[in-house]
C-alpha cells in the first residue's frame, strides 16, 4: 500500500504486495464475534459485517509494516531511557473507603456489588 496525496485532501490506494508469511490481514464474521467477546463488548449480529469491514480497513492499512526489515531490532519498551524507579514497600495511602466507593454504580457496606459470579 502507499499513500497518494490528492489536491486539497488526502486519499490512499491499496496495492497488493507479496510480503511472505504473515498473519491474516482480514477477519471474518466469526473472528469479529470472537474479538467482541474478548473485548467484552456486546455487538449485535447485524453490526458484525460492517464492523468487520472497518477492522479490515485498518488491518490492510497496517499491512505495510510487513515490508520493514526488523531483524535484530529491539522493540521499544521505554520511550525515554531511564532506570526503573523504585519506592519503599510501605503503605502511603488508604483507609478511605468512602472516596474509593463514591462513584460506584452499586455498593453496600464498603463493597462493590456485582451480579452473582459463583453459584
Amino acid at each position: 500500500m502507499r499513500w497518494v496525496f490528492g489536491p486539497g485532501r488526502l486519499c490512499y490506494e491499496r496495492r497488493s504486495r507479496n510480503l511472505g508469511p504473515k498473519p491474516p490481514m482480514s477477519v471474518d464474521i466469526a473472528t469479529v464475534r470472537r474479538i467482541a467477546r474478548l473485548a467484552r463488548i456486546a455487538v449485535a449480529d447485524e453490526e458484525l459485517e460492517h464492523l468487520g469491514g472497518e477492522i479490515n480497513a485498518v488491518l490492510s492499512f497496517v499491512e505495510q509494516l510487513g515490508e520493514v526489515d526488523v531483524a535484530g531490532v529491539e522493540p521499544m519498551t521505554s520511550v525515554m531511557p531511564m532506570a526503573m524507579k523504585k519506592r519503599h514497600d510501605v503503605v502511603t495511602d488508604g483507609e478511605d473507603a468512602d472516596r474509593v466507593l463514591r462513584n460506584a454504580p452499586v455498593s453496600e457496606n464498603n463493597f462493590f456489588v456485582v451480579p452473582r459470579v459463583v453459584e
Binding site: I35, R37, I41, V43, F61, V79, M82, K85, N103, P115
Partner: protein, 492 residues
Amino acid sequence: MTALTALTLAQARDGLAKKTFSAVELADAHLAAMEKARALNAYVLETPDRAMAMARAADARLSAGKAGPLEGIPLAVKDMFCTEGVRTTACSKILESFVPTYESTVTAQLWRDGAVLLGKTNNDEFAMGSSNETSYFGPVVSPWRREGDTAALVPGGSSGGSAAAVAARLCYGATGTDTGGSIRQPAAFTGIVGIKPTYGRCSRWGTIAFASSLDQAGPFARTVRDTAILLRSMSGHDSKDTTSVDRPVPDYEAAVGRSVKGLRIGVPKEYRMPGMSAEIDALWDKGVAWLKEAGAELVEVSLPHTKYALPAYYIVAPAEASSNLARYDGVRYGLRVPGRDVIDMYERTRAEGFGKEVRRRVMIGTYVLSAGYYDAYYLRAQKVRTLIKRDFEVCFEAGVDAMLTPATPSAAFGVGEKTKGDPIEMYLNDIFTVTVNMAGLPGIAVPAGIDAQGLPLGLQLIGRPFDEETLFALADVIEKAAGHLHPSAWWV
C-alpha cells in the same frame, strides 16, 4: 480599551500585578464570553462558581504579595484531566456522571501556581479522534469559517474544545493531551500555539489514559510566550507516574526571544510527499526562509521510516487503549447496564457506554494482542518504533538541533466531511505529528499563515528530548514573521 479577553496571558499576568484589573474581573469577562459562545460547544462543563471563588482567592493572594506565577489567570481544562469534585468524563457516556475524588498532577500544579478554572473542554471520546466529532457531547464547531461561507468546520482533535476555546478568546490558555497529534493538529486548525512536550516531562497521573506510552499533556495558548509560561507550571517530576522524568524544569519563557543564530534545522525530505498541496509546500518554504533570515542553518535530513509511523501507531495505540479501557466494566465507577450475569453486564455496559470509534479501537487492540498475533502485530510495531526513534537520533547526533515540518496536511475540514467513509482517511490527519509521539520527542505547532479560503495553517517544530526551549525560541521567530491569527467572532 481592549476587551479583557483579548489580552494575552502574559499581558493579563502583568496587568494583575499592576492592579490594572482584578482576577475577579478577568474571570467575569471570560464567563460572559463563554455564555455567548455556547454555539461552539467548546466547553462541556462551565464552572462559574468555582471560577469566581478561585479568582477571589487569587485577588487576596495578589493583594498579600503572595502571587504565584499564574495567579488569577483563567484557564480551561480538557475533560481528560481529573478535577476533584468537578465532573470529568473523557467525553464518553461511560463516564457521564463521574466526579473524581482526586486532582490530576498537571491541574494541581496549575492551581498551585494560582490559575483559575473556567470549565472543562470538549474532546474526542477518550481522545480518540482528529476532529472532535466522536465526543459524546457532540462536535465542537471551530471559531473559524471559510471566507464567504457559514459551513461549520471542525477545530481538529482530539483537544478540539481546548483549541476552540483559546482561539475564540474564551480563556487565556488551556490544557490538552497529545497521543498522536491531539494538541498540535487542533492548534494548527485554529491558528493558535500548542506544544506536546517530551514524553515524561508532564506527569500522566490523574489524566485519563488512552495509550500510556504515547500520551503526554501540554498547553495551548494564543502566543508562544503564553504557551511557554503554561508549560513551566504543568511540567515537573511526579513520583506517582513512573515514567515522569526527574530533571529540573527550565524557565521556558526565558527562551522566547532567544537567538536562533547558528542553530541547525533539519527539513525532513520524507515529509515532502508527492502530490502534497501547493499551499502547504509554500508555507513550509516560508518557514524555512524565516528561520534562515533569523540566522539558522537549514539542512535537508532524512527520516526514512516516516511512512511507517502511522501504521505502527494504529497498532500500538489501540493495543494500549484496549488494555487501559478494560477498567470500564460497570463495577467501580461509571455507567452500569444490568445483564443476565456478570459477563453480560460487562458487555452491555461497554457496548452502550463506548461510542463507535472507541469500540472499534478497543476491538482492534484486542485483536492485535490476541493469542498468536502479538509478535506479528504489536512486537513488530514496537520494533518499527525503535527504528523511527533511531531516525531522529541519527539526525540529532549529526548536529541537527530541531526540525521544521508542516503541522497538518491540510487546513480544517467541514463537520461531517470525513466521518462517513473509511476510518483511515481521518487517521491521515496525523501523518506529520504521529512520528513525534512514537519517538517521545517534543513538538510545537505554531500558526504560520492562512490558506486561500482564509483558514489558518500551522508549522511544526520537532526538538531533541527535553529541549523544549529551542522549540520556543524557533517558534517565536515564526510567530514574529507570521503574526497572530484571529477569527472574527460570528457567534456573538
